[in-house]
Symmetry: none
Subunit: 220 residues, 4 copies
DNA sequence: CATGAATGAGGATTCATTCAT
DNA sequence: CATGAATGAATCCTCATTCAT
């Protein structure tokens, strides 16, 4: 299982050193239960029971239940958006621009696909909590506005200038791109995870659709 | 405000006669608070306070807190999907097929846009609760599978046969259509309601994008 | 059914004129439910439902739930003890003393047997409420001490003087008599009502046992 | 006070190890209040207050209020009937049969007298709750039918065959014995605890009465 | 560090009682 | 008289949090 992995990854953002085994158990149990029943409907005693620790132990590591939530969600938001605004990722695209927008799209799409595939429960938690906790909303929007948006915007404008993309407002292009990527992943992993999916084909179909929908009009 | 209106509409689905004033106040308060803080984090005493009634009054009308939730969500799910599977709506489209797929799309899109504009809080509640309450999930999926899917599928296949739509699996077409419509509405009304939006233009841009992305390849 | 009868009887003690039909329904429902579940575990709304009246109607007739209980229990306590201290009943016995103590005992026993047979639910209510409500206890003890005890004591002493009864303290004789009569009736109607009972034989056996146990020692 | 004693005894039936002090306080308070006001009329907050613990503490030890009741009543029912069906108790009687039925009766009577004297409040609780809780009724009847009845029946038949007891149906003999023992104890400890009682004399009088009432007819 | 008993504020729900219709 | 919607205090119970061991 790769469960242990992402829990370790989370910690690394946490600043601290290493996770104790008990801490890892707590985090894992919390992630599972928050995803299953939601934050508000999950009690710390349930988490303790599933984690196999005493209830008090949770509060030794996380001052409050909310802090436990944050310690899960915060690094995850970063992880989720991280690669998209990694400087080298964008720079690569712009440099090797002969590869075209489609390669960028495919690269980003597949990358996020793999990520969500490994971390579906997190996605559910993030969606739920960003919906209700204004603080989370703020953090999310800040991240989006300051990091993701400028990077992607740069890419979009670049390819619009190259004539590969239709002359639609970049914000709209970005909204469309995100909507379709996130929408596909949500449908795939949260809404209808039990249906038969041919993931590769569906991704390629979505990319093809996006490329066609965003290509410049022939007269342009 | 048109709040009073939709609350009355909800009841009509409820089978019963008319809402008492107190009942309407309770529903309105509940909708607001569930949308703000989520079902689990909203206490019945808070609802009572905002509704200006005694806490006991809530339980005179709704045996449990969950029943109160259902009495809000159930009719809403129906309302939300209703027009899309109204027989005459689909039939109209198929008969007046000279109008083309674009008209169908525009009609459906604008119709749902208006609906969500009036009922944004409901949308938030539905999304939240469908995510966690398996019963709601079931109800939602049933509605989708039995009513919405066949109707829309008929339309899609019709236009594919007419050569107006690309030869992509109808399920994928539908997923793409829903993703883009719902995604746009969510972004507009829930995620970034405070940003400047030129709704008409954004809808038209989305439609244009969808039409282009779904049109048959030139060689076909 | 004779249900209607005893309810009317109850009222006559109540001082008032006649019971309205609704009032009778309320009393009957209350008696049934108090006997089934106990006073404290029966809600006025349940009583109203079973009686087929509105909850408010109960409070139109009985200021409080407790008053409703009293209006059932009070007259019943009187009814229960009544014949035993009816002057003429005792006087008869003393006059026709040729009939002996056994006839008195048989008469009293069968009389109470018939009464309990018709009114078993009441018995349960009385036992329960006398056990807990100090006020009821007081009323019950007063009745016993002032009315029943002197009468029966007179009878017992009379037959002791005649040499028909052993020279045991009259209080003990009375305790034994009551214990055996009440004990038999409780076993018969409350504790094991479902077992096969040959009531006539069991009563006669009990009487024979009592007579033998209370007869003077042969040497006396 | 010997309160501490019986509470410890209760637990030993409970299977578990030892009672925490708080748990003992809770049990003691609950016993007192249930006996005073009845189960249904006693609130958990009152119990907590009298026990000197937080209300939540009650629910840490007993999942529900009813479980608290059962944890008191169940072992008590067993305790109450225990010695009567202890194998050696019965066997002793049958072996040393020269001692006669009167010794058996005296032994049993005094044993239960001492027990009730120490545990009067329990008796009240048992009577109340067996009256209303069908589950308790079942448990009680099962215990009686499977354990107590056969043992005592064996003794009764033994002494009937020896000609020490009248030829009355054993069930009736047992009913009479129980009625008189229980009736005396109830009168003594619950109904008229405040009256002057010369317990030894009253017990002996009752035994004498029983022996005489149950002796075979002289002609037999 | 880890525990789990103890806490008490707060949760949903019930209920006797009132009162306008 | 009868109704039943409305009330709010009280009920049983849950839960995040603390703290002595």
């Amino acid at each position: 299982m790769s469960d242990k992995n992402w829990i370790q990854e989370i910690l690394q953002e946490d600043g601290e050193g290493q996770l104790t085994p008990k801490q890892a158990q707590i985090l894992q149990a919390a992630v599972e239960m928050f995803a299953e029943k939601g934050y508000a409907s999950t009690s710390t005693s349930e988490i303790a029971k599933r984690a196999g620790v005493a209830e008090g132990t949770i509060f030794r590591h996380y001052k409050t239940k909310k802090e436990l939530l944050y310690s899960i969600v915060s690094p995850m938001i970063v992880q989720f958006a991280a690669p998209l605004f990694a400087r080298h990722f964008i720079d690569d695209v712009l440099e090797r621009d002969h590869e075209g927008f489609e390669d960028f799209l495919r690269h980003a799409f597949r990358n996020r696909y793999n990520f969500v595939k490994e971390n579906a429960p997190f996605l559910k938690i993030i969606i739920q909590e960003v919906a209700f906790q204004p603080e989370m909303q703020q953090r999310f929007k800040a991240l989006f506005a300051e990091k993701l948006l400028p990077s992607v915007q740069k890419v979009v404008i670049h390819f619009q200038e190259k004539g590969e993309l239709a002359d639609i407002p970049p914000e709209t292009v970005i909204r469309i791109l995100l909507t379709n990527i996130v929408g596909m992943l949500l449908t795939r992993f949260l809404i209808m995870p039990d249906q038969d999916w041919n993931d590769d084909e569906e991704i390629e179909r979505t990319i093809a659709f996006l490329m066609k929908g965003l290509q410049p009009s022939s007269s342009e």
